[in-house]
């Protein structure tokens, strides 16, 4: 019997059994119908990976289930994904299992964080990902099913069943799928992974524990500072987790906004620095002006001002603001995506295992996207 085949004690389906309902009955779904795996479909994924069924990939917290190539293949098929997506899924899961990401915490926290996955490089085209209109929304098989396959693995192998090991108070819709590609073709900036030192023809996956995207509207400004003032406004609240727990955040700039910003000669680094400098929160707001005593997160950076009128950045450095360009060519919108906090470090990983030459903290073929300021 193969590793992924069901043990004898599991109630057996009969010839007339509706397998979609049978998988629901086992609790092995994300709440949506799954594609019942067949031996042929599972083997096709293993062939795409080019590995044996029993090859160990990682342990998935908090259940610490062993993710083998066959178990990855089963979940990929159940998500409705195609075999050629498998190398990208494997790379994403390996990034999530990097100790720096702290998947155990991300899965179990009462916060709503879900892993956000951003893909760069040729693989976006090879598997037909959407980087354009409605990039965070529905309609593209690769985006939808890759994110879903991650969630199924986090549920089935990682054991993050809501209310059991996943203690999130609210969750968010990205727990069904939260997977986009950068719109490199319509971006005036260098591709994200190139800015981190990877070759343009290398494909990479970036993962970050993230809140949902918050829309940033600006149909008026015709210069970089005006556009970025709106983005900074979305960042400078004290309700999201960055304000109270620091860490990392992401900004997804729409192509029209990006064109305006780049038209003023600004590059990604200047955008990061400007947002970091201008998206600040009054310390008295996160400390409620000491109305409830001197209550605030002791894990905030030690150098943050603790005077009530101190205005601190929401993350420790410009390099903690991860800037991508994505979305459709029409519309003056961007998005701010808060992170979970200092408790999780984003990971950038190449499909071919190559390392960034920039000096980022790379270990075991993953690069932890730490600040370099």
């Amino acid at each position: 019997m193969s590793v992924g085949q069901v043990e004898d004690q599991t109630p057996a389906p009969g010839a007339e059994t509706d397998l979609v309902e049978w998988y629901f009955d086992q609790g092995w779904t994300d709440g949506l119908p799954v594609v019942p795996p067949t031996a042929e479909k599972v083997q096709a994924v293993l062939d795409a990976l080019g590995v044996a069924a029993h090859e160990h990939i990682c342990r998935v917290a908090p259940r610490h289930g062993d993710l083998s190539a066959e178990i990855l293949a089963i979940n990929l098929v159940m998500a409705g994904a195609r075999p050629e997506y498998a190398p990208l899924l494997r790379t994403a899961i390996e990034a999530l299992c990097d100790p720096a990401f702290n998947l155990n915490g991300v899965q179990a926290t009462t916060h709503m964080a879900a892993p956000l996955m951003v893909v760069n490089g040729p693989v976006r085209h090879e598997i037909g990902m959407n980087a354009g209109h409605n990039v965070f929304g529905s309609g593209n098989r690769a985006n939808a099913t890759l994110g879903r396959a991650i969630r199924l693995i986090l549920l089935n192998v990682g054991g993050a069943q809501p209310g059991e090991l996943d203690k999130s108070t609210l969750g968010h819709p990205g727990k069904y799928t939260y997977c986009i590609a950068e719109n490199e073709e319509e971006s005036p900036l260098a591709p994200f992974h190139v800015s981190k030192g990877f070759a343009g023809d290398t494909s990479t996956v970036f993962v970050m524990a993230a809140e949902p995207p918050h829309s940033v509207t600006n149909h008026v400004a015709d210069d970089a500072e005006g556009i970025l003032a709106s983005i900074a406004s979305a960042m400078a609240t004290y309700a999201h987790n960055n304000a109270v727990s620091s860490g990392h955040c992401a900004v997804v700039v729409g192509p029209e906004h990006a064109s305006t910003i780049a038209g003023d000669g600004w590059d990604r680094g200047r955008v990061q620095s400007h947002l970091w400098e201008n998206a600040r929160v009054r310390f008295g707001d996160i400390a409620f002006d000491h109305r409830y005593g001197k209550v605030y997160n002791r894990n905030l950076p030690a150098w943050y001002g603790r005077e009530l009128e101190s205005r601190n950045p929401i993350v420790p450095s410009p390099d903690h603001v991860h800037v991508f360009v994505a979305g459709g060519s029409a519309g003056r919108f961007s998005a701010f995506i808060p992170g979970w906090g200092h408790m999780s470090t984003p990971v950038l990983r190449a499909l071919d295992g190559s390392r960034s030459p920039t000096g980022d903290d790379c270990l075991d073929e993953s690069c932890r996207v730490e600040d370099r300021s």
Binding site: Q5, V6, I71, T109, N299, M343
Partner: protein, 99 residues
């Protein structure tokens, strides 16, 4: 489950758990004379609870010594160095969760 002509083959997507659970340490019947570690996860309410418990222990349990440790982050595991230090220098460790 074997697949026959009349039964479809189905797959378990969960994988096995090969990691072995740790056995809990043996319980002490008394804290008298014990070296007690307080492990604070760095969350505000947990810290409040533990500090108050520490005061009560020192007042009434005739403990030997007490040391206070604070994790770097409430959502990350304690570092191996901190765990080793706690094991080396203490008989009992007390921790708490408070959100």
């Amino acid at each position: 489950m074997k697949s026959t002509d009349s039964t479809p083959r189905v797959f378990d997507p969960r994988g096995v758990v090969s990691a072995r659970p740790q056995r809990p340490a043996l319980r002490r019947s008394s804290l008298a004379g014990a070296k007690v570690a307080i492990l604070d996860n760095s969350k505000w309410n947990a810290g409040q609870l533990l500090r108050n418990v520490a005061v009560e222990l020192e007042r009434g349990a005739a403990i030997g010594e007490m040391r206070y440790y604070t994790k770097e982050s409430f959502s990350r595991v304690a570092t191996p160095e901190m765990v080793a230090e706690i094991v080396r220098d203490n008989d009992v460790v007390l921790t708490a969760i408070g959100d």
